[in-house]
Amino acid sequence: MKTRNIAKKVIVYVFLISAFVISVFPFYWMIVGMTNKSVDVIKGKMTFGTQLINNLITLFTSFDMKGILLNSIKVSALTVMGTLLISSMAAYGFQIFSSPAREKIYNAILLSMMIPFAALMIPLFRLIVKFGLLNKHIGLILTSIASVFIIFFFRQSIKSFPYEIIQAARVDGAGEFRIFFTIFMPSMRSTYAAAAIYSFMNSWNAYLWPLIVLQTDEKKTVTLLISSMSSAYTPQYGVIMTAIVIATLPIIIVFFTFQRYFVQGMLGSIKQ
């Protein structure tokens, strides 16, 4: 009986360790790849090389990596800030000042969350062209700051926000917007953190919509650059690896710093 239990434990650990290694290995490989030559990367060299500096130099001289990074940072930062402000305000309006008319609008918005992006893409593209927003970063930002999911996510957490605090502030004579900005916002920090992470990931990793909107090289984001680098006739794998690490690093850092909020943000959609 005892040996059978030990055998079972061994199987469980072997399974978990394999899953762990498979999950983590590509990260190791990508960091190793960053330090190796193109030939070595593709052959699957698993040890660190000496090419890191060369790869970095090639990445920043053959491509406008600095400008492209700044583009990504600009788009993501503005999208996150805009999303948090606009979407949390809307959620607050729907929950704190609920009325039958607004409830109908809210339900309609929720329903549209199920519509896949592919169905919106074509009219959205024509709209962007019409407004003269083609090839402009604002075209990406403006179309994503009113996020249905983030509105929903905020509203779920506002439900547990003590209404008495708002009423007390009103009695003290505080205006509605002041209550929102100075009382509500600071006390919902963890919800804002989770929403920020979700929104940052979406914006930083976006591919299809930027591919359509951004048409010239100097406007491109990191994701677009990596994609076009890998489809070149003679891809420089070491340099691509360096770009992938640079593109992945910010998210990994955010993940390990805010792990608690991160998972909360991901699960937000189903927590009632």
């Binding site: 469980v12 978990l16 899953a19 762990f20 999950s23 590509p26 490989w29 990367v41 593709i42 052959k43 699957g44 305000m89 809307a90 607050y92 309006g93 729907f94 000042f97 609920s98 607004r102 609008i105 309609a108 918005i109 199920m114 519509i115 896949p116 592919a118 169905a119 919106l120 893409m121 074509i122 009219p123 709209l127 403006l142 179309t143 009113a146 249905v148 509105i151 990931m201 591919y207 299809l208 359509i212 994701t223 990596i226 994609s227 076009s228 890998s230 489809s231 794998y237 691509i240 690896m241 992938i244 593109a247 992945t248 998210i251 990994i252 993940f255 792990q259 998972v263 991901m266 189903i270």
Partner: protein
């Protein structure tokens, strides 16, 4: 002024504030969500070659049935989710129930490691996989060194292997993500249930099928629908696994990775633009998603 009137004016101003708070978001959503949804439906009844746009009624929908490319994209998409989604969710369930066992050491480390793929960008991990699964790439080299295979496997050069490669990639990216969902639900199941069944002589495998799966049923339905919708919208992975990315003549060998979203993109931006027909294809996705969502509500409704 009496109390009643101040009350009413307060409600009135409250109403105004309600509109003010939601106004910006509602205007943006009307422009960038509602309008596109409606306009897309209208577009699907027109045919546009260049700048001329004609009303064609349901002609586009008839064209779908006879369009070999559309049928291929539909078939590819269905093949992917019928095989990949169950394997991935089953793996996620097993991992979650193993990691829910408090006697397992390093649970936090395992959980973090297995979840880690979910933080990567879709494009970045796809390109990583494209390099790993190249003909002379890491996977083939490793398998040949271990004497598991004699000839390199044409991962991305053969239609069937290309589908297997994308399934492996998708499973790597999303298993940990789904596992975290299951894990958080499992942590709410009281230990007493498992302890009681253990006293009754139930094995771990019996517990898994008779306690864990039934309790998680609503969540399993939810994650399957979400994964299916995700597969229906698959774009970044097939596009970047293709030989020359966006500029490739075919998406994967013999268009084996052509998905509905890629086909829509091609109809708009690669071939002679036909926005009308592209909108029709996109509404096929809408209809499938709508049906799936209804099924989900029905199953979830049964539970409560």
């Amino acid at each position: 002024m009496t109390g009643a009137t101040t009350g009413r004016s307060f409600v009135k101003s409250n109403n105004l504030y309600g509109w003010l708070f939601i106004s910006i978001a509602v205007i943006l959503l009307a422009a960038f969500l509602l309008y596109p949804i409606v306009y897309s439906l209208y577009l699907s009844t027109t045919s546009s070659k260049g700048i001329v746009q004609n009303f064609v009624g349901i002609k586009n929908y008839v064209r779908l049935v006879k369009d070999p490319m559309f049928l291929l994209a539909l078939k590819n998409t269905f093949t992917l989710f019928i095989i990949q989604v169950p394997i991935m969710l089953f793996l996620a369930l097993i991992l979650a129930s193993l990691l829910n066992d408090k006697t397992i050491k390093f649970r936090g480390l395992f959980r973090t490691g297995i979840f880690l793929p979910a933080v990567t960008s879709l494009v970045a991990y796809t390109i990583l996989f494209k390099m790993m699964f190249a003909l002379d790439g890491f996977i083939n080299t490793a398998l040949m060194n271990l004497h598991i295979i004699k000839e390199p496997i044409p991962w991305l050069l053969d239609p069937v292997w290309a589908k297997i490669t994308i399934m492996i990639a998708l499973t790597w990216r999303w298993t940990g993500y789904n596992m975290v969902f299951y894990l958080s639900a499992l942590q709410n199941i009281p230990d007493e249930i498992y302890e009681a069944s253990e006293i009754d002589g139930a094995s771990k495998v019996q517990q898994f099928f008779h306690i864990t799966i039934p309790i998680l049923k609503p969540l399993i339905v939810f994650t399957s629908i979400m994964s299916t919708i995700g597969t229906l919208q698959l774009f970044d992975e097939p596009m970047n696994l293709a030989q020359a990315g966006v500029t490739s003549a075919t998406t994967g060998p013999g268009n084996s990775l052509l998905t509905l979203s890629v086909y829509i993109y091609n109809l708009c931006f690669k071939y002679m633009p036909d926005f009308g027909y592209a909108a029709t294809v996109s509404y096929v996705i809408v209809f499938i998603v709508a049906i799936l969502t209804m099924i989900q509500f029905k199953v979830a409704g049964d539970k409560s």
